[in-house]
């Protein structure tokens, strides 16, 4: 009797907990969506929680009257180039650290971890100087270069962890058969490591897409703005046009949110692997 009561209490606590976290998670997301489709009247004059009327005006405004699509395009370019470069650079470096015999190997491995942990906002001022002296201020190329500072160490670190678990016999056979290191890497290791590469791509994509500080510091003109910076540009003086801003926020959230939903199994295992056991 008391046992089944204990179970009931447990069920109740569990359900209550899920409900609380559900509300906590949904409310801000709901407010983005609902603001983006409410006519201005229902946003400001007669503010309502559950709108009686919906409109596509805010989306139309953002798409037609602001350079939003151009910002998205910049974000896509920056994100794709950064992600691809990070995957290539990280794979090569991780392979060397795990499989090649050279003096200084442990130091390189340590340097990778340390740089992975150095937060970008500690370095944005000297980085400004570096980008300035390269002549890349106000240019998305400058963003691509700086985004490598957080994607490359991360990619290398992830790939080190994965390559460690691939038995070296597989590759030794190919090397004895006369394959070069590059061939062994491309034909044997990379195909095996595709799941890890997918995780790397996923994180590099999300990190680059969401980045804001470097963009804020380096970029000034509309033609070079990425999504996050462009969003702030929608503010006029002190007024926040919340309808268009939430519409743009919703559209800007969709790419990483969809990528996350499609690959969430990998997100969870990848995050844990990246920071716990490589």
């Amino acid at each position: 009797m008391s046992r089944s009561r204990a179970r009931l209490v447990r069920r109740l606590v569990h359900t209550m907990g899920l409900l609380l976290f559900g509300v906590w998670t949904i409310v801000p997301l709901y407010w983005i969506v609902v603001t983006s489709i409410k006519p201005n009247l229902l946003i400001y004059r007669e503010a309502s929680l559950f709108p009686s009327q919906i409109t596509g005006d805010h989306f139309a405004f953002v798409l037609a009257r602001t350079p939003f699509l151009h910002y998205i395009q910049n974000s896509v370019v920056v994100t794709l180039v950064t992600t691809s470069l990070a995957m290539i650079i990280g794979t090569l470096a991780a392979y060397a650290i795990v499989r090649l015999n050279f003096v200084g190997r442990p130091w390189v491995a340590r340097a990778v971890v340390v740089t992975y942990l150095v937060p970008g906002s500690l370095l944005f001022i000297p980085m400004f100087q570096v980008i300035y002296s390269l002549g890349l201020i106000d240019n998305i190329v400058g963003l691509i270069v700086t985004y490598l500072t957080f994607t490359v160490p991360f990619a290398t670190w992830m790939m080190i962890g994965y390559f460690r678990n691939v038995p070296s016999e597989l590759e030794d056979a190919a090397l004895i058969d006369g394959c070069s290191r590059v061939q062994a890497l491309a034909r044997i290791m990379v195909p095996i490591a595709l799941p890890a590469l997918a995780v790397v791509a996923l994180f590099a994509f999300t990190l680059s897409w969401n980045e804001f500080l470097y963009a804020l510091v380096f970029i000034g003109s509309d033609s070079q703005k990425t999504l996050t910076l462009g969003l702030i540009g929608l503010v006029r003086g002190d007024t926040f046009p919340w309808g268009p801003m939430m519409a743009a926020s919703l559209m800007g959230t969709l790419p990483p949110a969809l990528v996350y939903l499609v690959s969430q199994r990998w997100v969870v295992s990848g995050l844990a692997a990246g920071s716990v056991k490589g």
Binding site: F21, P28, S121, V152, I232, G278
Partner: protein, 321 residues
Amino acid sequence: MAVRARGSFVGAKAPPASPTRLNPRRLLGRDWATAWIFLAPCLLVLVGLIAYPFVSAILLSFQAKLVGSPGVWVGLGNYQDLLTGRDLSAQFWQSVRVTVLFTVAADVCKFVFGLAMALLLNEQFRGRTVVRALFFLPWAVPSLIVGLTWKWMYDGSAVGLLNLIALRTGLTHDLIQWLASYDLALWAVVIAVVWASTPFWAMMFLAGLQAIPGELYEAAEIDGADVLGRFRHITLPGLANIIIITAMLSTIWTATSINFVYVLTNGGPAGATMTFPMLAYQVGVAGAQRLGMGATISLVFTPFFIVLIYFLTRRLLASER
């Protein structure tokens, strides 16, 4: 093992007769040439874009330098001005206080929420996959957009969501200035940060919980341990390593994050939310563009992060082996 054995085999074959002729393979390792070619792009990033800026930050901190003009060497002048000078030291010490309070409060909340969320999701129930996907969704929302959304919810007029609810339910008759009142602003920012990063903690904890063998719990139950006992003697010790790693990672990221503060309050009101990266940004990039002083502000906090990174690196490399 096999690799190492082969390496020494190659070394043994090298002609011992001429000790004066150095064998680079023996000196630098069997695959040194290939290895450094493979590593070159990665090292270029590590050295050129992380180590070099770090060194140049140190040099900058000894100069009075405005954007676009040559710097003037001032020795420890920036440090002195920052710590004891008239115009900045009050702001600086305020930022120390705010950064510590902000980081500790956010970390504690994230720990409690993240652990609770992970424990809830670790149970078997219908629709678990969907619920998990939803709970972790804030992780994928760009932090800038999280900041904007909360700014809109905190709006100080009657149309901000929180004021709307507070007024309708009769909790208050006056509008609450969540972001404009000195006492509330920091906590308002903390809540937005916690909303955005609880999923990361929950993901880490969930992975940790799933690695604890179920037999431990069964054995404890047979021994008569109650829920709290099992939590204290099995769950917490099982998660200890992950808790430490997550807390250190989160401390580094939270203390140095600028997006939330930038959007929500821009450091205000009256410095109530002025964390040190925000101060560095305002002094070094926005406004006066005093690059040297901006770099100094970040550098003064750097030793703390070096210590954290040192211990975290040791832990990460240890669990790697």
